[in-house]
């Protein structure tokens, strides 16, 4: 048995290059339940991160009582993330929403479904009559199922005809998609997790994989501990678990990613570590790149990034001389200045090294949420379904034919509206109905005082569809109780294109309904019709929706036509494209070096990386990539805000391994909640000393937009940088700790600004000052000791004593190695 709070990654199963990753089956059952007591195991996958770990839920007497990993699955080979081991307990939580709520005389009161849906439909009809479809906005998530997003997409785009539909995936994964569109012509992860098995070098760019995708880190750890381990390069301003294991750790200043990438590219080109043959055959734009990066010798980047030039050279040597290189990027790139530009430089690095589409050679542009990939594919993330190009009339015609509606019904005069713009339109009063499903923007969006103000605004009708009464739901006019994972059937797709089925194991609580049923009910009541007067949406359950979706993807990169529910049930995860040619799915894209950059096929004609100016079809034709990848260089640009006298620190936000998003589920799992019960402020020892701050002191962090108060964790974070985890809102604290009392949400301080190309908010780009509020009361900060927030001292010499993070008996998990 392993305490998986004390040791989130569990026992090692080392393996050597190209060997199959050994099986290790993790299992956790609630106290008093043994394996023999379990009535049945129900097939599913993880919903608390993007890794797509296949798991089975244990059911006893109509309740979920535990989980175990699926040994047969290629993604996790039986392993389970601590969030999944314990997070399911939230399903059984007493405070689940069980009936719809409607606002009457300012208060939310229980209502019937008929009344709640009636109100939404009445308001919808009135708005359609008075203002038209542009007055509707939909803000969804990365946590529903494929079938739900696709249905919502058809409702918004073809039913109502509004371009205002986006997901919170805009804050987590928009840059990944955009960077792939710019470089490869389309969204779609080129490689996959098994590339880790073959790699001789791994480079993590702003990707704290140990905390965001623990099972992927287990795979890397098992390679690192086996024979012939890969070299490891980590770029991160925090001392993350991978950073501690790295051969080279570059703790660069926030917002300087492009300068670093240009220096790495400089070294690779200057030393001849690139593949001229691949560059000539499969790319365009190399000469421009060469010209740009020649201005970035390591010394220049060292000055901008605040790391020694020799370390940049050493990192470039590892990356440049690797024979099989896997690189990945996540929020350190995606939520910082020049997000798309930096992610594109990582693509460029792999393109010029010819390291794409071969075993052990890939870039992984990661996702943050479990079904973010589906939000993107189905067109619920400011894209059109199946990676169609909004600016290509033929692609729009295909959709119009598929849905049997007029072309003009589908808004395609500009890209579908992105999240921050939807909120801006709501703020200005031109969007009057905002339907939020499965996300909690009152905690997770930047500058949340502004978000709260918009939600409370007169004239904005807010619908919130969720499983708990979140901070956001409290502002709603109508709250719809939703079913969650384990209570509904559907499919979803992870970062490496693996599609999993997730079965309904138990009934949802009270009158809660699946998100699909809620959307279908709305479509029925709105009576959306196609050109022939038939119902626009013809499916009525998850499987018939999946079949309709398959038709939408036929012949496109994300081809699902070879997948059926039956096939998913017989085996486990399957990677798209899966069709007649590849009936068992596809491990790697672009194995022949031919990309989706043909003008008539590409998902986007591309953008200027500095301004986000859209290129036209004519521009694309002149560029004529014709299947070659597009190398786009870019100059480094100074951050929005630079530290000054008033705000001397850089400020960044992020996650911890024990929580997911705004803790709606993980705060309701005692093992996870107790491991990280409250917000904290990370500060370096040098900065702490200069401000007289010791471990556990209450400090106030202020930016030009707001402030946070929490206890300080003195740790090895880069000097000059302050970190606050973004998980903590106000639903589970007394009113004195609410937005009117003590602020603790990291997004009180972040800036309303976005990357010009991907429109992803810059949640890691701000400045701050730190003020000590109280002397030590010998209480340590609530930050975990097992992760990036590990303290520099145990407190025995200064500050408060810091106990090691442990879960005790109730966090003990069984692991069986080598059992298929």
């Amino acid at each position: 048995m392993t305490d998986r709070i004390a040791n989130p990654w569990g026992e090692r199963t080392p393996f050597v290059p190209s060997e199959e990753w050994p099986v290790r089956v993790d299992q956790f059952l609630e106290e008093g339940v043994s394996e023999e007591d379990v009535d049945r195991w129900v097939q599913s996958a993880s919903i608390l991160h993007s890794n797509g770990d296949a798991i089975d839920a244990a059911v006893k007497d109509g309740r979920i009582v535990g989980v175990r990993g699926r040994a047969v699955d290629r993604v996790n080979r039986g392993r389970v993330d601590p969030k999944d081991l314990f997070g399911w307990q939230a399903n059984n939580s007493e405070d689940r929403l069980k009936r719809p709520l409607v606002r009457k005389d300012g208060e939310l009161v229980e209502a019937s479904w008929d009344e709640a849906m009636g109100l939404i439909v009445e308001r919808s009809r009135q708005l359609l009559d008075e203002k038209g479809p542009l007055s509707f906005g939909f803000y969804t998530t990365g946590q529903l199922f494929l079938e739900e997003y696709y249905t919502l997409g058809v409702i918004a785009r073809a039913g109502l005809g509004t371009p205002h539909l986006d997901g919170n995936t805009r804050t987590c994964t928009a840059t990944a998609a955009q960077a792939m569109k710019e470089s490869f012509g389309s969204d779609g992860q080129p490689g996959c997790y098994t590339d880790i098995d073959h790699a001789d070098a791994i480079a993590l760019f702003g990707h704290n994989v140990a905390e965001t995708q623990t099972v992927l880190w287990m795979r890397m750890l098992d390679r690192l501990e086996g024979k012939e381990p890969p070299k490891l390069v980590v770029v991160d301003p925090r001392p993350t678990p991978p950073a501690r294991r790295a051969d080279v750790h570059l703790a660069i200043r926030n917002d300087t990613n492009v300068a670093l990438m240009n220096a790495l590219l400089h070294e690779i080109i200057a030393n001849g570590w690139y593949d001229q043959e691949y560059v000539d055959a499969h790319t365009i734009g190399f000469d421009e790149l060469k010209k740009t990066v020649m201005r970035y010798p390591p010394e220049r980047a060292a000055e901008i990034c605040g790391v020694p030039a020799e370390e940049i050279r050493e990192a470039a040597r590892i990356i440049g001389m690797a024979k099989r290189l896997v690189s990945s990027a996540l929020q350190g790139f995606y939520q910082s200045m020049q997000a798309t530009a930096a992610a594109c430089q990582l693509n460029n690095l792999h393109l010029i090294r010819g390291m794409i589409g071969k075993p052990g050679c890939t870039v992984l542009q990661m996702n943050g949420q479990p079904s973010a990939q589906n939000t993107r594919e189905t067109g619920a993330n400011g894209d059109l379904p199946a990676f169609r190009n909004w600016d290509n009339p033929k692609h729009i015609q295909e959709l119009a034919d598929l849905w049997n509606v007029d072309c003009l019904q589908i808004p395609h005069w500009a890209p579908p509206t992105h999240a921050m713009q939807i909120w801006r339109f709501a703020e200005q009063g031109s969007i009057n109905l905002l339907w939020i499903s499965g996300t909690n923007p009152a905690v997770s969006l930047p500058e949340i005082s502004r978000i709260r103000r918009i939600l409370a605004q007169e004239g904005l009708f807010v619908v919130v569809q969720d499983i708990f009464l979140t901070e956001t739901a409290q502002y709603a006019d109508v709250v719809l109780p939703a079913a969650t994972w384990g209570e509904k059937l559907g499919t979803f797709t992870n970062t490496d294109r693996t599609v999993h089925i997730t079965e309904k194991a138990v009934e949802p609580p009270g009158e809660a309904k699946s998100d699909l049923d809620i959307f279908l009910e709305y479509a029925r009541r709105m009576n959306f019709r196609n050109k022939d007067g038939e119902p626009l949406i013809k499916w009525e359950d998850p499987e018939s929706c999946f079949e309709a979706w398959k038709e939408c993807t036929r012949g496109h990169l994300c081809d699902y036509t070879g997948i059926t529910y039956e096939k998913l049930r017989e085996g486990s995860g399957i990677q798209w494209p899966c069709n007649e040619e590849s009936p068992e799915g596809t491990e790697r894209l672009y194995t022949d070096g031919v990309f989706i950059t043909q003008t008539d096929r590409c998902e986007a004609y591309g953008h200027d990386l500095l301004t986000g100016a859209a290129l036209s079809e004519a521009d694309h034709k002149v560029m004529n990539p014709a299947g070659r990848a597009i190398i786009k260089p870019i100059e480094y640009q100074q951050p929005l805000e630079e530290p000054d006298k008033e705000y001397p620190f850089r400020y960044t936000t992020g996650r911890t391994v024990y929580h997911f998003h705004t803790r709606t589920k993980t705060a309701r799992a005692p093992q996870l909640q107790d491991a990280a019960p409250d917000a904290w402020v990370e500060i370096s020892p040098v900065d702490a000393k200069s401000l007289g701050i010791e471990e556990g002191n209450m400090v106030r962090v202020e930016s030009p937009r707001g402030h946070v108060e929490a206890r300080a964790r003195v740790c090895n974070i880069a000097q000059g940088l302050i970190f606050v985890p973004f998980h903590y809102g106000y639903f589970d604290v007394p009113t004195k700790d609410s937005p009117n009392g003590r602020h603790r949400a990291a997004n009180e301080m972040t800036i309303s600004a976005w990357d010009p190309v991907s429109k992803q908010p810059l949640l890691k780009s701000a400045v701050a000052r730190v003020i000590k509020v109280a002397d030590s009361d010998k209480t340590p900060s609530p930050a975990p000791t097992t992760t990036a927030s590990e303290p520099v001292s145990d407190g025995s010499t200064d500050g408060a004593l810091v106990p090691a993070t442990e879960g005790g008996e109730r966090a003990e998990v069984s692991s069986v190695i080598g059992k298929e």
């Binding site: 203002k131 038209g132 031109s430 301004t611 429109k759």
Partner: protein
């Protein structure tokens, strides 16, 4: 030779455009993307003037009144609201296109005087101005339906 007059006119137009972008950024700071991009583009315009200056000096100084007489002054903003944003972007577009065609004419002059250094400056600045126009167009196309139909 009137080439210097065109240099002066272009410097004036670029400075006007820079000021327009700055006003736009300040006036529409509530649009989260506008502030930063507009300031970035304003800086670009300033750099264009810096790059032109040595040539303007070589080909003869030009009287300030001449500059004012030839240069456009169109931006009257910043105006308020969604429609105001669209109109302000529209003004900037007209100003940027004036710069763009002026760069083209200066480029013709550079060809005629066989001046490779000037040609290089024209080429790089002209393409940046083209991107500025593309950005303005992208932003306007996105803002127009909402401003023209749904805003009140």
């Amino acid at each position: 030779m009137y080439l210097a007059n065109y240099f002066g006119m272009l410097c004036g137009a670029e400075l006007e455009l820079a000021e327009g972008f700055r006003n736009m950024g300040e006036g529409h700071g509530q649009e989260p993307d506008v502030y930063f991009i507009c300031h970035t583009l304003a800086k670009q315009c300033d750099e264009h003037v810096e790059k032109l200056r040595p040539f303007a000096e070589r080909y003869g100084e030009i009287a300030p009144e001449e500059r004012n007489r030839l240069g456009p002054k169109i931006f009257v903003g910043p105006r308020e609201g969604g429609l105001g944003l669209l109109r302000d972007l529209h003004d900037l577009y007209v100003m940027a296109s004036f710069c763009s065609i002026t760069w083209t004419m200066v480029g013709q002059g550079a060809q005629g005087t066989r001046n490779p250094e000037l040609l290089e400056v024209v080429e790089s600045c002209e393409s940046e101005t083209a991107t500025q126009m593309k950005w303005l167009e992208t932003r306007m196309k996105q803002a127009a339906p909402q401003a023209l139909i749904a805003a009140s």
